[in-house]
């Protein structure tokens, strides 16, 4: 370390008292925002249904697809789901649906199929729609895409703190490990690459059975998931991730019976806001709309 660079430390959180209150997440005033960032609040819709899944198990497709339609309609301020999906894509568009295939907690195929069907209903040609994760760099539909839809389940992550919507785009770069430095803080830079910049019209953070803690090399135990039955929908990936992070944090505190910060701190969410200007991470700049089941909502 050299010079007098502005560094955020634990001391800053202690000083503001936000360590205990926020569990270390997004608790500091945004003093150094990226230039050109929108002054508007970001709208995020959190929708839940206690029947979305059978406990930890199978997903109820009809319920979850209805949740997605309802959330999207509110998120976009549309009159109905049909007009909402038409705001996402039109007949002239080519759409890449960026999924996540991590086999222990993948994007539910039912949601991938439902999004595809809705896009077709909105007039997008089936051959101009593709769902992919690890093959996005070479996928011809993604290569000529005009629209991206980003969907993945949220989970804790050993190196970035959280497997988030922002992190889901790491497969768009040929050398993902370049972005692993300092707990993957620079993931926001990927969103400025030509192959993705400005294309993402919808972000869906799947919170049906999120993973709130992980240990060991496989970082997964069914015991650290819970049937939250939620979807978080927004055009702003940073806001959606920030809301998801607060829910994960609250669940950790509840489960462990103490303040148990997400580790490592998911710096990439704040950095996507403050350094890369991709959206809003601070609660003051998020309009959170809650729909559906409110019991144990944790936020």
């Amino acid at each position: 370390m050299t010079g007098k660079k502005r560094v955020i430390t634990r001391r800053d959180f202690i000083r503001t008292g936000s360590w205990a209150v926020m569990g270390s997440l997004m608790g500091l005033p945004l003093a150094h925002r990226a230039g050109g960032q929108t002054a508007q609040k970001s709208r995020v819709v959190l929708i839940r249904n206690q029947n979305a899944t059978e406990g930890h198990g199978a997903l109820n497709p009809g319920t979850v697809v209805q949740m997605l339609d309802d959330a999207l309609t509110v998120a976009l301020g549309a009159e109905d789901p049909v007009s909402a999906w038409r705001k996402i894509a039109n007949p002239g568009d080519t759409v890449g649906i960026k999924s996540n295939v991590w086999f222990r907690l993948p994007t539910p195929p039912e949601l991938e199929k439902a999004i595809t069907a809705r896009l077709v209903e909105a007039g997008v040609a089936p051959q101009n729609i593709s769902v992919d994760d690890r093959g996005v760099k070479s996928n011809p539909v993604f290569k000529r895409s005009t629209v991206l839809i980003n969907i993945r389940p949220m989970r804790t992550h050993h190196w970035s703190g959280l497997g988030s919507l922002l992190k889901n785009y790491i497969m768009f770069v040929p050398q993902p490990w370049i972005y692993h430095g300092n707990a993957c803080e620079r993931l926001g830079a990927i969103w400025q690459k030509p192959q993705v910049a400005g294309k993402t019209r919808l972000n869906i953070l799947v919170m049906l059975t999120p993973l709130f803690h992980g240990v060991g090399p496989h970082h997964f135990s069914r015991g650290y998931t819970w049937p939250y039955g939620g979807l978080i929908v927004s055009t702003d990936p940073v806001s959606a991730d920030a809301i998801g992070a607060r829910i994960i944090q609250a669940k950790r505190n509840q489960y462990f019976g103490e303040d148990r910060p997400i580790s490592p701190r998911p710096l990439h969410i704040e950095a996507a806001d403050i350094k890369f200007g991709l959206g809003n991470s601070h609660p003051d700049r998020i309009e959170l709309i809650k729909l559906g089941w409110h019991e144990n909502i944790l936020i």
Binding site: K5, H158, V215, G216, H218, S263
Partner: protein, 304 residues
């Protein structure tokens, strides 16, 4: 000896480089053979679980394809190879055995300390069992045995497999020397962690968004908690390659974390706890939070 003389001596390759390459080659072969010989000796059957064919061996690059997400942690501890074997049973959960050759017992111990929740069951040199997962270290190996789903029978099989694998590893490793430099009085042994990567430190104790202690692969770090009477503290020891780096890191810590420190390097934090720092040669001692100034100073004075 300068480079040119080495080049002349070994006809195109420097002597040092030649020796290094040979040593590296031998080291890799030694590790590969050791893991392979261990592999050949592993049980084919544990209780009613049978080993599947198709063991996989991963190196520091291919490990990313296997344990997406956690691979960086293993890389941060210089993982050399990982042998993975699956045990299956009809109608039951899979058991996954992963044996990591960490290259040194220090790093095997270090990666073990990354997850120290759980109960001790007496396998290997140190172990922990928690729901769905047994881990232990022995010699330069870190062993993880993971249940896809938890059940009493699976846990018994996991324990039996752990005992058998530990029995196949004949050597015994040493803990990192820096651990013995921690003050003894009040040390909570089950909280000690060893690391040499700033993100791993932040995983266990978020300090700063930047690497203000200049932790790198060349530094050894011990993190531990203390309880003396009714007072608690958390302490960090960092050993740098040179006294100059230790001095620079001390200055950075004072600059970025406790700019309000007094002449003794101690500061009262806003939550009523104390932070303090001192240096002796290569070694930097940091009390991150202590219930009293007296405890902070006591710890700094009792570094071995």
């Amino acid at each position: 000896m300068n480079n040119s003389s080495r080049t002349r001596t070994f006809g195109g390759l420097s002597g040092f480089a030649t020796v290094s390459i040979i040593f590296l080659f031998m080291t890799q072969i030694t590790h590969a053979l050791s893991l392979e010989s261990l592999q050949a000796d592993l049980p084919k059957q544990v209780d009613r679980w049978s080993a599947q064919t198709g063991d996989r061996i991963y190196d520091e690059k291919t490990i990313f394809s296997y344990i997406d997400g956690a691979a960086e942690v293993y890389k941060a501890y210089n993982m050399k190879q990982c042998l993975s074997r699956r045990y299956t049973i009809s109608g039951g959960p899979e058991i996954i055995l992963d044996i990591f050759d960490m290259g040194s017992s220090e790093d095997a111990y270090g990666i073990f300390t990354h997850d120290i929740d759980g109960t001790k069951v007496g396998i290997g040199q140190e172990d922990r069992l928690r729901p769905g997962w047994l881990s232990f270290w022995k010699d330069r190996f870190f062993v993880s045995i993971y249940m896809e789903e938890e059940s009493g029978a699976a846990e018994q099989a996991v324990l039996e497999l752990g005992r058998q694998v530990a029995g196949k590893i004949s050597g015994k490793g040493t803990r990192p020397a820096i651990i013995s430099q921690l003050p003894s009085a009040g040390l909570q042994n089950d909280t000690v962690r060893y690391l040499h990567h700033p993100v791993v430190l932040n995983y266990h104790y978020y300090l700063a968004d930047e690497n203000i202690l200049n932790i790198s692969a060349d530094t050894d770090v011990a993190l531990a908690q203390y309880q003396l009477g009714n007072q608690t503290a958390r302490m960090l020891l960092v050993k740098y390659p040179t006294p100059e780096e230790a001095m620079r890191s001390q200055a950075d810590f004072l600059n970025y974390y406790i700019p309000d420190a007094d002449k003794k390097g101690a500061a009262l934090l806003e939550n009523g706890q104390w932070a303090a720092v001192s240096r002796k040669g290569h070694l930097l001692a940091v009390v991150l939070e202590a219930d009293s100034r007296e405890l902070a100073e006591h710890l700094l004075q009792n570094v071995h």
